[in-house]
């Protein structure tokens, strides 16, 4: 099915200054479409976490918002480096974040588990040397 609304955002590696702009815009667009309350908040939090991961951990990637009549979908896909051990990465507290990321208040190893908790559907696929794709669905109503 074709989405009612689509938005795409390029997210650059190490761009801490702009990090979060895509998620702020996603939140704004969804609000305009009429998404509110608990769902809006869960999408916003998951979006911010996944966007920050693109900045902190990936070589660069893209964040895409798709809105369907009954669900909001977020897709993050990057061009590497990929995650060697997904089970480990999904554990609370596991982090390889840089000093820079930590000094900004990140690197607690909470992002991926938090995305999984906030999304109704969560899927992560990663291949070392190729990249990581995370797809999250949030049911409307």
């Amino acid at each position: 099915m074709e989405p009612m609304y689509t938005g795409s955002y390029q997210v650059a590696k190490d761009d801490y200054t702009s990090a979060g702009h895509a998620s702020a815009d996603i939140k704004r667009q969804l609000k305009q479409i009429g998404v509110s309350g608990d769902v809006l908040r869960r999408v916003a939090v998951a979006s911010y976490e996944v966007e920050l991961n693109l900045v902190i951990h990936s070589l660069g990637g893209e964040l895409t918002l798709n809105v369907y009549p009954d669900c909001v979908q977020l897709v993050s896909s990057d061009v590497g480096p990929g995650i060697p051990d997904l089970n480990m990465a999904m554990k609370e507290g596991y982090s390889t974040a840089s000093e820079m990321a930590r000094s900004m208040g990140f690197g607690a190893g909470m992002g991926l588990p938090n995305m999984k908790r906030n999304a109704d559907d969560f899927n992560i696929e990663s291949t070392v040397g190729v990249g990581t794709t995370i797809t999250m669905g949030f049911h409307l109503r």
Binding site: Y16, A24, K27, V45, Y48, M104, G105, A108, M110, G111
Partner: protein, 124 residues
């Protein structure tokens, strides 16, 4: 208790949102770890922090927080304050340390945001 009461006990400077001081507040959290705040805070609350980078304000925006308190006299840059203003946040600065700010607010009746924590193998 309202944000105005917080301003009084913290002897705080109102940096942004002076028109919203009558907003009622019931809970607060204190952290410099934005990823913890994003993971555990799920109500419109107050954040007390010692970090003054743009991500504190962006985290607040994602969570729809009501009020940010910068501790130990720290004041963020104007562009950070501007983005806080754009999203309708109230921003305060106090000379108290984060610990002392939390202490006086607790004494006034503010309580921590409820966070469910379960240790492995703990008796339920």
């Amino acid at each position: 208790m309202t944000i105005a009461d917080m301003v009084a006990v913290l002897n705080a400077k109102v940096l942004v949102g002076g028109d919203k001081l009558d907003t009622p507040v019931y809970t607060a959290c204190c952290s410099d770890l934005m990823s913890d705040v994003l993971a555990f805070v799920d109500e419109k609350t107050v954040l007390i922090t010692g970090l003054t980078n743009p991500h504190v304000v962006r985290t607040s925006e994602m969570l729809d927080l009501k009020c940010l308190v910068f501790a130990r006299g720290k004041i963020p840059t104007d562009d950070i304050l501007q983005s806080a203003d754009d999203q309708g946040l109230v921003v305060l600065a106090t000379k108290l340390t984060a610990f002392s700010a939390c202490g006086v607010l607790y004494e006034m009746g503010l309580r921590g945001v409820p966070v469910p924590v379960q240790w492995d193998q703990e008796d339920k």
